[in-house]
């Protein structure tokens, strides 16, 4: 028996059509945020660039210092890395005269894990070393499960997970919202030490309400800003003039949302925050995988069945021929 190329192509085409037709039914939607999700609100306009959060993060996570000055006297990380989970970066333009102004101004931005609602790293990780906590929504990392393939490093749209290239026993490093400190009543060290409340910790729904309040403020209006933990009000608030906020909460919609929300007066793209669609890349990738391999591997198994049948017909002659030769 022999199937012609035309028949095979016809079959393949029919299969392909079926696949495409079946795709919408299997589409994997964006994941949704847990009710009690925890996160951070970073308000660029309140940040004074003191980097107390960078130092506190190092202490809380027991990470080594990183040097970028010739003297190597103190911890001066320029970016997150295998040794640094959190940095404050600065945007500068022209004369840098005014804070929170795009032209001839400057502004600060916190760089650390955004704890995506539907994280690419979790979808990419082949060994469940990256996980999304079903209650807190914290994106955690388990070094004992990790194989060091760095698919998470490559996949993250924010460039967050980092790898340790200078050791034979490397780990992925990323912010885990200080979940290891939560047992004794602590929370994210960066928010705990922030003197102006620029980094605020709490339940995402509380943080989101606070973000909406700020975006609606009249620029220059005297405003009370909470500090520390917005859900427990553990620290005294402080009062400052409201900045001219952009009417956007970064992280509200990006890739289905993130548990770190960001506010700014300078366009987010200028602060290194990419413009992103609302559909998560994890959803797109998993829709593709489920379409091809869903329903208990229906398509590969059917394919295998057809090929087994065809191969059996064709190989038989071949074997006889081999026996003849003996």
């Amino acid at each position: 028996m022999s199937i012609s190329r035309r028949d095979f192509l016809k079959g393949a085409l029919a299969g392909g059509t079926l696949l495409v037709a079946g795709a919408p039914a299997e589409a994997r939607e964006n994941l949704t945020m847990p009710d009690e999700a925890l996160g951070l609100l970073f308000d660029s306009t309140l940040c004074i660039g003191c980097k107390a959060c960078v130092s506190a993060c190092k202490d809380a996570n027991n990470m080594p210092p990183e040097f970028s000055t010739p003297e190597q006297l103190w911890d001066t990380p320029l970016d997150i890395s295998g040794k640094t989970l959190n940095v404050i970066k600065v945007y500068q333009d022209g004369t840098c005269e005014h804070k929170d102004v795009e032209k001839d101004g400057f502004a600060f931005m916190k760089v650390s894990c955004l704890h995506c609602v539907d994280p690419s790293c979790v979808s990419a990780c082949p060994v469940s070393a990256m996980t999304k906590d079903p209650v807190t929504g914290i994106v955690g990392y388990d070094k004992d499960a990790c194989i060091g393939c760095r698919y998470c490093v490559a996949a993250c749209p924010f460039g967050v997970p980092r790898f340790q290239y200078d050791t034979p026993v490397p780990q992925i490093s990323k912010c885990q919202l200080c979940k290891h400190r939560m047992g004794d009543g602590h929370y994210a060290a960066c928010a705990e030490v922030c003197p102006t409340g620029a980094t605020l910790y709490g339940k995402v729904k509380d943080l989101h309400a606070e973000a909406k309040r700020r975006v609606a403020l009249k620029p220059g209006a005297q405003t009370v800003f909470p500090r520390g933990n917005i859900t427990t009000h553990d620290q005294s608030p402080h009062t400052a003039k409201a900045a001219a906020y952009l009417p956007q909460i970064y992280g509200e919609k990006e890739l289905g949302g993130t548990q770190m929300l960001k506010l700014s007066a300078v366009p987010f793209e200028k602060l290194g925050q990419p413009k992103l669609p609302e559909r998560s890349y994890a959803a797109t990738s998993e829709t593709m995988q489920h379409t091809l391999y869903g329903n208990a591997l229906a398509i590969p198994i059917a394919f295998l069945g057809v090929l087994t049948y065809v191969a059996k017909r064709n190989v038989k002659h071949d074997d006889d021929a081999g026996d003849d030769k003996k």
Binding site: S2, I147, G148, Y165, L276, T284, F303, A311, D319
Partner: protein, 391 residues
């Protein structure tokens, strides 16, 4: 047409193993071994240029993604012989399979060099750790399964050598299923090597980021498979001073060209449908590399357009090389050139990184030379003209 065409039985080539060629190859393997020792003592950064912006270097993109595509000869020829029942190509199965076996096995081994926490690698197959939503999981599982399947597919050569006739007959009874698996598994993971990039989202340039990545990777893997068979046939004929099976290679190249045309239609159709045709006319490195990629895919169509050209060994060889290079550049482009994770990052492989990849290729070639001299793989050509009469 059926697979019952009769060809001279494969026979060991014999001849010396310790030649200048094999000595050079062995030296290259040794150099790679030393570099890898440094890597395992001091970490990946000690010998590679990979960084957090380009965390996958050539040990992933060349050794695994491209290496396994270059090892698709066995897949393509098995598909042709056993599924499309073109028995005339049967003499090509074993040599193609051997090269594939080496290519894949070394791609599998190469992964270990690149894994930061390689001692945990078994987690990927272990319930509780394994994460089936991950494209990487699918790739790892399928490649590993395929390596085992290929060793089984190839084992008749060993069994013949050691006179295990009973075992060979038993295996032959199940061979049809092994062959079917041996076509399904590479179809799955060769396409998934493209799917790996889908989750990277905007980080992959629109010239390469598409939902058709799995199809593009699958089609090029098959086409490269045919090209590599032609390439290897030419090299082994020159190296072992055997006549070229021109009648087969010419016909094979026609199949290859057909696949290539289909690929080009899908490739440009996809760009048109996504409205990204204009990106190829921009003045940047991505567009430039896209044109190089496209030119290399088009060149074989031009070189082998006339039937007369397909009888010309040199033209066949050049066309095959061009196509292999095209598949190489497509993969480099989509994984490295078209990948942009933020400003300030760059990557070019270090000398030691390249030497490890070269060492892997040397090991493949060395293994191939040793095995064809020792095992019945290449068809016994001395009798080929006289004894190739059908029985």
């Amino acid at each position: 047409m059926s697979a019952s065409h009769h060809h001279p039985a494969p026979a060991p080539l014999g001849g010396p193993l310790w030649t200048p060629t094999t000595k050079i190859l062995a030296a290259l393997v040794a150099i790679a071994g030393v570099i890898l020792l440094v890597r395992f003592i001091f970490g990946l950064g000690a010998v590679t240029n990979i960084n957090d912006g380009y965390t996958w270097g050539i040990w992933v993109v060349y050794d695994v993604v491209i290496g396994s595509a270059f090892a698709c000869g066995g897949y393509s020829v098995a598909l042709l012989v056993y599924i499309f029942n073109k028995g005339e190509y049967h003499p090509m199965v074993r040599p193609a399979l051997l090269a594939s076996l080496f290519g894949y096995t070394l791609a599998g081994v190469g992964v270990i060099f690149d894994l930061g926490r390689y001692w945990n690698f078994w987690h990927i197959f272990w319930p509780g750790y394994a994460q089936p939503n991950s494209v990487m999981f699918e790739v790892a599982l399928c490649i590993s399964a395929y390596i085992i399947v290929m060793w089984l597919e190839f084992s008749p050569a060993f069994l013949e050598k050691f006179g295990k006739e009973n075992a060979r007959k038993k295996l032959n009874k199940a061979l049809f299923f092994i062959i079917a698996l041996g076509t399904v598994l590479p179809s799955m993971h060769q396409s998934s090597l493209g799917s790996l990039l889908v989750v990277f989202g905007y980080q992959i340039h629109p010239l390469w980021q598409t939902m058709l990545l799995p199809l593009l990777y699958l089609m090029t893997a098959l086409t490269i498979g045919f090209a590599i068979v032609i390439f290897e046939a030419c090299l082994s004929s020159a190296g072992f001073k055997r006549p070229l099976e021109m009648h087969l290679l010419g016909k094979l190249s026609k199949v290859m060209l057909g696949m290539l045309v289909a690929y080009m239609v899908v490739r440009f159709g996809d760009l048109a449908v996504r409205g990204t045709l204009s990106s190829m006319f921009e003045l940047n490195i991505e567009a430039f590399m896209f044109w190089i990629e496209t030119a290399l895919f088009v060149a074989p169509l031009v070189i082998l357009a006339k039937p007369q050209a397909r009888k010309h060994p040199a033209k066949l060889f050049v066309a095959a090389c061009s196509l292999m290079l095209a598949g190489f550049i497509l993969r480099i482009n989509s994984y490295l050139v078209g990948y942009e994770t933020g400003p300030g990052w760059n990557y070019f492989p270090s000398v030691s990184e390249i030497m490890v990849s070269i060492g892997m290729i040397a090991l493949e070639v060395l293994g191939y030379i040793v095995l064809v001299r020792y095992l019945p793989i290449l068809s016994g050509n001395n009798e080929s003209t006289a004894a190739a009469t059908n029985k």
